[in-house]
Symmetry: C2
Subunit: 342 residues, 2 copies
């Protein structure tokens, strides 16, 4: 049963486990430093589909099917799938999962979706409202560029602050506590923050205040500090946002995360060598990095506990054209090593 801890945090006392997880990615992501970690690398970013949107749907479905398989489950075992993506009306998700026949709780959290879906799935399992739930998300470089910036064919130049939307999907299968599997200890859902950043090519800066707020709230609620965690892993702040996050936490909250912070957007690419500007972004960035490299290290006990803080920028191309600033949100999920692993 969830116990509310402070204003923002839920302590999930039954410690739901991540029974299976998978990450599948596109060609560029497969050429990056995490190459060996992913379940599958597609060398053709169309995945053989006739549109990039359909390719993204296939990507997400593939991650879900592989995660289910690794958990020893079929779609018929799953009570709910909690999922979303960046595309208008979340079609990456709805077309990707429609044939699975699993009751669907559609989410929109932009790039925070992996933490939102995993957190909510864990709360439902903890409450016994679900025996098994899937959390998943996806993004695709080409479908996102066309929708949010320019179609690839336009050949527009990207500024150095821009991040690259990862062609990637990740999925976790959550169930009752299993001593041989990683477990979800706590969840902190964030509130919307908006400090007035209007540059859609600088999402890291727009999202950093939301990450800072959620992280500070988590530490206050749990009466812990960065030293209590092996890793504080933000999703998709990239170079600019990660630096800003550290400054905001230091300045506003006197919290120093410089020793044990990294960001999924910094891990997924070789930033210098792969021409990805300020790093990776997109729902699938945190989704794939967490569901491969990070969960492997947690499973092995190499990382004892990780605070995943995925961040989302909640603007649309329309709001950007209308001159609006970028509201952002960040959700945090505390994941710990399996009980039986020392």
């Amino acid at each position: 049963m969830a116990i509310r801890q402070g204003r923002y945090t839920l302590n999930l006392t039954t410690r739901p486990s991540i029974l299976g997880n998978a990450a599948v990615v596109g060609k560029t992501e497969g050429e990056g430093p995490l190459s060996a970690e992913f379940d599958h690398i597609y060398t053709d970013d169309t995945l053989g589909e006739i549109s990039f949107e359909k390719a993204e749907s296939t990507l997400q479905r593939e991650a879900i099917i592989r995660a289910l398989d690794k958990a020893g489950k079929t779609p018929a075992d799953i009570d709910y799938i909690l999922a979303g993506d960046l595309l208008n009306q979340c079609i990456g998700t709805s077309f990707g999962i429609r044939e699975l026949g699993i009751p669907f709780l559609g989410l929109y959290g932009a790039c925070s979706t992996m933490a939102l879906s995993l957190g909510l799935a864990s709360v439902l399992v903890d409450a016994k409202a679900a025996n098994f739930a899937v959390a998943s998300t996806s993004s695709h470089f080409a479908s996102a560029e066309r929708q949010f910036r320019q179609p690839l064919e336009y050949g527009g130049q990207r500024p150095p602050t821009a991040q690259r939307t990862a062609t990637a999907a990740g999925a976790s299968v959550v169930g009752c506590s299993d001593p041989n599997k990683p477990c979800v200890e706590a969840v902190t859902f964030g509130k919307i923050m908006d400090l007035g950043i209007k540059d859609a090519n600088n999402m890291g800066a727009a999202m950093a205040p939301a990450a800072a707020d959620t992280i500070a709230n988590f530490f206050t609620d749990t009466a812990t500090s960065p030293a209590d965690y092996d890793l504080i892993l933000t999703g998709d702040l990239g170079i600019v946002g990660s630096q800003l996050l550290k400054e905001l936490l230091q300045k506003d909250h006197n919290i120093d995360i410089s020793r044990n912070h990294t960001d999924c957007g910094l891990l997924i690419y070789d930033i210098e060598g792969q021409d990805v500007h300020a790093g990776g972004s997109g729902c699938g960035c945190a989704g794939s990095v967490f569901n491969s490299y990070i969960l492997r290290r947690i499973c092995e006990g190499d990382l004892k506990n990780v605070l995943l803080v995925a961040t989302g920028a909640l603007m649309s191309p329309t709001s950007t054209l209308q001159g609006e600033s970028i509201p952002s949100v960040a959700h945090a999920v505390l994941v710990s090593k399996p009980q039986n692993v020392s």
Copy 2:
């Protein structure tokens, strides 16, 4: 605590209550048969804002603030807001609520959002993961027409099967069981159904199979029949979809709901007199009808129990242009009269 009943249904044993609710609408909706039921009618559909998108944000915020006020709560009392809308990246919601400072669980369920948000808020309260949660949604005729069909300025002609997106918002505040307030007894989240309808001007037909599936699952899981309920209220099937729903339930499941079924899209307008073609639609249609007329009648004991089944079409303009069919989903929430009302 939620008890799983059958494959799809959650029995919320603590019976969370709807402590406050509000509905605000635009001019056309205010001229319809439910005129006297709404908390506020805006005679100018811009709400004094410079864009229809901003108008929709203001509409949703206004519904939330009024619902909070009627529940005797402030934003600081609320643990989570669960909300979404039809606009790309759900900006009606994110820009509408950003100043409230409430932890935000973003949802995308298209026109099913009122049932999705109310259902999930009730599950969280039932599980004691939240003391108080807000469920809300909105839609706006002009912002939706521009995004999904044609801008109003184009003057396109709408076919008879088309529904009118309501300019409307609704919000409910959910908390622990209160004998003087309506309560949420059960929730059935639906799975995606897609029978191959491709006509974005005939959403009712696309969504009817999802409604039929969820309703049939609810009756199977609870071992009840239509006669056990005062009202089965679908969200936004309109004339075409309502007829199809009845046929599908009769044909595929031998269930007859003709005696106690109506649809929010048939209630919100004077269909003959207001030139609204096949009836109302949009997240705000079910949101506003449920949070005004229906909850008033439940509060008064005039309706003892109502199965709200809001339906959502999960396509996007992109998927429609790509020739895809329309996947749909429907979520059901069983709401009953206050214990202290006979």
